[in-house]
């Protein structure tokens, strides 16, 4: 565990760098802009219907939101550890951290499926009120982005298995990591909107 510290390679220290590659940051920028728009929708709706938003979160399962948050944080840790390991030249350790990240990340769609099933059983649908409409719209949108991230983890995992990454060249792995961390940040913002604030 002593090497679980993300530090830049010697050639990169001191100079501003693009983590991963420019392409993924074009995608992350678009993702951020998209969710900023959705957040504005949330806050406008919250301003117009304060009572519905105060009551809404009491109907959702806080455990579901908590489990999803812990899953996202944990998978982010595994993927960050994978990057740290490849930087240290430990390819096999990096691969297994990435594999762990994928396994943990798969807990997210599973938790979402169970949560939505629980919601339906308790009569919480998309037309159950403005709070739930915004809730489904934001969380399903995030689930789609996370699904793309999971596909990306799978792709990078295969490339990692066949030796595509090394301590000298791991930009693809780091790009995937940046996307996943960005998606994690988005969820960390969404989580209190619906599961904490009443």
């Amino acid at each position: 565990m002593a090497d679980l510290v993300l530090s830049p390679g010697p050639a990169q220290a001191g100079a501003p760098r693009v983590p991963g590659n420019k392409g993924i940051w074009a995608g992350i920028t678009c993702e951020f802009i998209e969710f900023l728009v959705l957040f504005i929708v949330y806050f406008v709706a919250r301003s117009h219907f304060p009572e519905e938003f105060r009551q809404g979160s009491t109907h959702l399962s806080p455990w579901a939101g908590t489990v999803i948050t812990l899953v996202m944080i944990s998978s982010s840790l595994c993927i960050a550890a994978s990057v740290a390991s490849i930087r240290a030249g430990r390819r096999r350790v990096s691969f297994y951290w990435l594999l762990a990240g994928l396994v943990v990340a798969l807990g997210y769609p599973l938790a979402k499926y169970l949560e939505f099933r629980w919601n339906m059983a308790h009569g919480i649908h998309g037309d159950s009120g403005i709070f739930f409409t915004v809730y489904y719209y934001l969380t399903i949108n995030h689930l789609v982005h996370a699904f793309w991230g999971i596909l990306g983890i799978g792709w990078v995992l295969v490339r990692h298995y066949f030796g595509a990454y090394s301590a000298e060249d791991y930009s693809g792995l780091e790009a995937l990591a940046c996307y996943w961390h960005a998606t994690d940040i988005i969820w960390l913002t969404i989580f209190p909107f619906f599961y904490v604030l009443a």
Binding site: I73, A182, I185, L188, L197, A198
Partner: protein, 94 residues
């Protein structure tokens, strides 16, 4: 620089704290402000220790910083000026 697993512990702890606050103080006026602070801290932890934006180009640093700050600021603003925001946006919505 803190080990990654310490950051994970902090993120997990802040998550559980948020849930406990929401369950215990759901009608408190100060809850949105505290939640806003926690959201910002969690976003900062991920950007600083997982993405390492402090080593990134200025555009990436500013992009991530802006995104992380938006929701907490909006929480504070709507907490104090929610009724005004509803009035102004009603003009656009019609």
């Amino acid at each position: 620089m803190k080990p990654l697993y310490v950051v994970w512990l902090l993120l997990s702890g802040l998550t559980l704290l948020s849930v406990a606050l929401g369950q215990g103080f759901h009608s408190a006026n100060w809850l949105p402000l505290l939640v806003a602070a926690i959201v910002w801290v969690k976003g900062w932890l991920v950007s600083r220790y997982f993405i390492e934006t402090q080593l990134a180009t200025p555009f990436i640093r500013r992009l991530v910083a802006l995104f992380i700050a938006f929701a907490p600021l909006a929480l504070v603003i709507t907490g104090f000026f929610g009724a005004s925001i509803a009035r102004w946006t009603a003009l656009f919505i019609g």
